[in-house]
Amino acid sequence: MRKFLIFLAVTVCLAPLSALAAGPTQGGTLIWGRGGDSVNLDLAQATDGESIKAGVQMLENLVIFEKDSMNVVPQLAESWTVSDDGLTWTFKLRKGVKFHDGEPFNAQAVYDSFARVIDPNHPFHQYGKWVYLSLSLGPVKEIKIVDDYTVALVTEKPYAPLLNNLALWLCPILSPRAMAEYKDQIGQHPVGTGPFKFSKWVKDDQIIMERNPDYWGDKAKVDQIILKSIPESSSRLMALQSGAVDIADDLDPDSIRLVEANDQLAVIKRPSVNVGYLAINTEKPWLKDARVRRAIAHAIDKETLIASIFQGLAVPAKNPFPPSIWSYNDAIQPYAYDPAKAKKLLEEAGFDFSRELELWAMPVSRAYMPEPVKTAELIQAYLAAAGVKSKIVRMDWGTYLKKTSNGEHDLCMLGWLGGNADPDNFLYGLLSADTAKTPGAANVALWKNAEFTKLCLQAQRTFDKAERTELYLKAQEIFHQEQPWVPLAHSTIVRCYNKRLHDVPLRPNGLNSFQMVWKDK
């Protein structure tokens, strides 16, 4: 008995050791199946998800989001300070970092990478199509090299969201030598500082990246990542099931259920940073009354919409941005589904029930709106139940975006992926009076609320996160009262992979470096 107890004690003590022995292993190839090929791996020019998810393995920023959340942490910058007037951001850079081509990372590299985007006189400016400036370096008017490892960014006005912009894929630091050498083809040969370096690209087939043995941080566990384009989603599912790939992206809900039922495979789910919404044109006289807009919110059953259209892979929305972003106002009580109440509100507001509203349906599907036409049909039926007649209007995507930004619709469906995960991106960008000017309004509700806009502008100038949070909580209350949109859903982001992979991360925006991922031998 005593021997047995000793044996037991020894076993119990050794058990953690054997678990340690089975810890992260080095080596192997991670094969990552996805729906399409990348377009441009210079992320300052990238507009598509497939380019971005490949590029973030190789390129790094000054700052980055945490691995599983949207909090900003240092990457190539070690620390930063903001001047008292809120105009100058000073970044202390990490020392001893080298680009994949052996060039040193320093203030000059940051200068060249940023100045090429915002300065038309910079020699590299002509080599690219610089996109989404308002989400990246648009607010910056000057870049100063303080010393070899210190850079200062000067903004035109105090702009607190800048830090989140810098964490976005749009602000990568590339090797100046490579940018000079590859010119407008830099997007086909990215050279950064990341844990993986670019090796080979066979168009529409695969991108191969090798482990960077000289990486400054924790070196990647796998030797190689192969990003394989598998356009047909059933083929992608079968590739995952057969073990031909380790990760399969963008599977449909039915496939995800099959993956969940398979004990070789694993699924991670996380709320995304997007929102799908129904915008109500507040300039139309018959939709001007907030009671009418609240009535429309009461008329729509979001729970059923999510169960049927999103097949459960979403959460109902009550605010303009998702709960994964800080300062989300959870105290707000959503408008309950209640067609009778909707009808009563409409009657109170003197709504003309003989009027037929134009309900514009998006012609393309997005994560935040996977089945736009079915969604429109469902909303049409809900409105009818509250006595409101509507007809569904459809057109091609380019025209749709143009006409909605001119305010030609009554109701239109749209959505937003808040890449930089700053509330400002949603609230000021999509709902302020400044962005409600036609033509080209991003605020397609054309909602011009002075108090709301004032709060957003004040928050841009406030650098204390707690104070900013207060302002945004208040702004969300105004939004809720006025209801220029009916926020519909925040979709769930899903990653399906083979269990032979470990430590697979998933950020709410779906963009992760895979340096910590390891694979069983």
Binding site: V131, D184, Q185, Q188, K203, D204, S229, E232, A239
Partner: protein
């Protein structure tokens, strides 16, 4: 060889390509959708859109845009892709070779199997062979390619994993590109292991792509053979005491081949341009998928380049088919 005739046909080809370039250029700009808007999506603001349009030259007048395009074209420059900024010719070339390899393999399978099945059916009309082969041909013609491809993958790559389900070679395996056709390159390099892997990768997609042409070829061969077999010269050949194999292969099949060649030529054209579904299911990095993606993104230069290449290939195939007629049937003379 009728060299004058070939020269004349090549001149015609130039005229055709010019016409195609105008029509495609105009059609692309008539369909709704703005490349800049599609590139930037719902996240763009008006200033950015305007800047991108200027950068892409889309703010110029149509005749000016066409003039620039034609001028570059005459210098052999198909322009740069709007989406990737890479020269369209480079983008097309790699994918064209992938499509060519797949199409040629499918062409080979469909011709060998289709002609054999057609001959067997015609030699033994109304036999079990005949009914069996023609029933299979009917199934082949009616089968949705998409479903067939997925079923083949499910059976041979997932349920009984004996064949690969995607790509041209196992991941990581490479062969120095000489022709760009992996199987030929493997042969040139003398790497038979790679050749074996390449043919294994090619089998399922080529079979999928071959199904419909195979069925068409079988039916055409059967009816052409039946007609020829009732001709006097076949009776004469038999009366001379020639063996049945010689009668069928030399006397009958050669004469029955004219309509078959026409169908084969058409098939090759269709295979080259119509492999989109097969390429999609089997993740084959070919031209079909590229055209569709480019069209969805309104990548004008890329679509224009692809259509020009397709038109040139179609015209070339037609020319070759016409020349094969002359070789097959000495009675046909080209009009010089």
């Amino acid at each position: 060889m009728p060299l004058g005739y070939i020269a004349k046909r090549l001149l015609q080809l130039v005229a055709i390509l010019f016409g195609v370039s105008v029509v495609v250029f105009l059609m692309l700009r008539m369909i709704p959708g703005d490349p800049a808007q599609l590139l930037l999506g719902e996240f763009a603001n008006p200033e950015e859109l305007a800047r991108l349009r200027t950068q892409l030259g889309l703010d110029r007048s149509l005749p000016l845009q066409y003039g620039i395009y034609l001028q570059n074209l005459l210098q052999g420059d198909l322009g740069n892709s709007i989406r990737t900024n890479t020269p369209v010719a480079v983008e097309i070339w790699g994918r064209l070779l992938a499509t060519l390899e797949l199409s040629l393999a499918a062409m080979f399978i469909s011709t060998v199997v289709g002609v054999s099945a057609g001959v067997v059916s015609a030699v033994r009309p109304h036999s079990a062979w005949d009914y069996g082969a023609m029933f299979m041909a009917l199934v082949g013609v009616s089968m949705p390619i998409f479903w067939l491809g997925l079923m083949l993958i499910y059976l041979f790559a997932v349920k009984y994993p004996v064949l690969p389900m995607m790509g041209r070679l196992p991941m990581g395996l490479e062969v120095p590109a000489v022709t760009g056709l992996v199987m030929v390159d493997a042969l040139i390099a003398g790497r038979f292991g790679v050749l074996w892997e390449a043919s294994r990768h090619l089998l399922l997609p080529a079979l999928t792509l071959a199904t419909i042409p195979m069925a068409v070829v079988a039916r055409i061969t059967r009816s052409a053979m039946l007609e020829v077999l009732s001709k006097d010269y076949v009776r004469t050949a038999r009366a001379k005491g020639l063996s049945e194999a010689v009668v069928i292969l030399r006397h009958a099949l050669r004469n029955a081949f004219l309509p078959v060649v026409t169908v084969l030529g058409l098939n090759l054209g269709l295979l080259l341009g119509g492999a989109v579904l097969t390429e999609t299911i089997f993740s084959w990095p070919g031209l079909g998928r590229y055209v569709v993606d480019s069209l969805m993104g309104r990548d004008y230069a890329a679509v224009q380049g692809c259509i020009l290449v397709f038109a040139a290939m179609m015209a070339a195939i037609n020319l070759v088919v016409d020349l094969i007629y002359v070789l097959l049937d000495p009675r046909i003379r080209v009009n010089e």
